[in-house]
Point group: C2
Chain length 199, copies 2
């Protein structure tokens, strides 16, 4: 037995969300129908305008519906001479939550992965090279994830940036604050020794 | 820092879904924007038509956009003399998945809960009484959940149904198939002894 066509379609459509299986989709549909149809309608309109209108910032490639994202459009940060390269827009948010970085970003929207057909072109590296060639950039901070693909991407970008007169740095790998040495993996420990700083 | 207004609104709106917190909402929004905008648009239209058009079956109160749900509208089952009372439309689906029940349903859309302002009126018991008074009903199966509220609701409905000439039954409580006695709680075990059947 199935529900009515509209309800079936709603449950089926909800499954496009990551981590939502048949049971969760059913629960979500019932919850919205039962408790909060207004919120459901609001979600529908938010979804449809975001899917149609959100594009990429022409300077840093993060998601925005304007030509430039708020950071690139800001007078103070948009012309900063420090660019931080990250993999995803969520990484921008994580760094911004700290509030210590005052430069601008460049969002790769992925990492190099030749098997999946993701090369330099898909990561917008031509745009990044134009930024570097403009002479406005003094330092490039590589903040890709400390994974195999992230490291490979960082090295590829570093090679590219060396052709321009730019200082290149990689964020430090080491023991996270609040972590206990006993439970940190050996690779991280080794990196924390290699990256030790004089006191 | 925040994202662009449209993206912020999408992330905020996604949080109306049960079990979706700020991080999941962000992941969902990025996943849709990055991978599957078509699915996002389809979800938006499914949501908006379901929220506006889905109402209740006039006979059994389950969700449907028609006057009658598929079961009540079916020639064979819609006039069945057996009515199974359940708490939610999801319960209908669970019973239908078994395929053994061929009667019709009555969906309470909740259980008696005076503190939350849910009384007989909210559960549509007047409609159920009209079904019983019509003389077309031979048996009423009470399949509310085996919780305190579910039991109270079942007893309340049973009292009401006794005024009409209707056989009233409650689904059996006992050891679930595939379960092991060792791990079954004592109340369930006691109920399974009380409800034992002659072989």
């Amino acid at each position: 037995m199935k529900f009515s066509p509209l309800l079936d379609e709603l449950i089926q459509s909800l499954r496009c969300l990551p981590g939502v299986g048949p049971k969760s989709a059913q629960r979500m549909a019932f919850q919205l129908l039962e408790r909060d149809r207004k919120a459901g309608l609001k979600l529908a309109s938010a979804l449809s305008s975001a899917m149609s209108d959100v594009g990429h910032c022409q300077s840093c490639r993060t998601y925005t519906e304007e030509t430039l994202c708020p950071i690139c459009a800001s007078h103070k940060r948009g012309t900063s001479s420090t660019i931080c390269v990250v993999e995803t827009p969520a990484d921008v948010l994580a760094i911004e939550a700290g509030g210590h970085f005052t430069g601008r970003y460049f969002v790769l929207l992925g990492h190099l992965s030749p098997l999946d057909g993701v090369g330099p072109e898909e990561l917008g590296l031509a745009l990044l090279e134009r930024h570097l060639a403009s002479g406005d950039v003094a330092e490039l901070i590589l903040a890709t994830n400390p994974t195999v693909e992230g490291e490979a991407t960082a090295h590829f970008i570093a090679d590219m940036a060396r052709r321009h007169k730019v200082m290149i740095s990689r964020i430090a790998h080491g023991v996270p604050v609040g972590g206990e040495l006993e439970y940190v993996d050996s690779t991280t420990l080794a990196l924390s020794f290699n990256g030790r700083l004089p006191l």
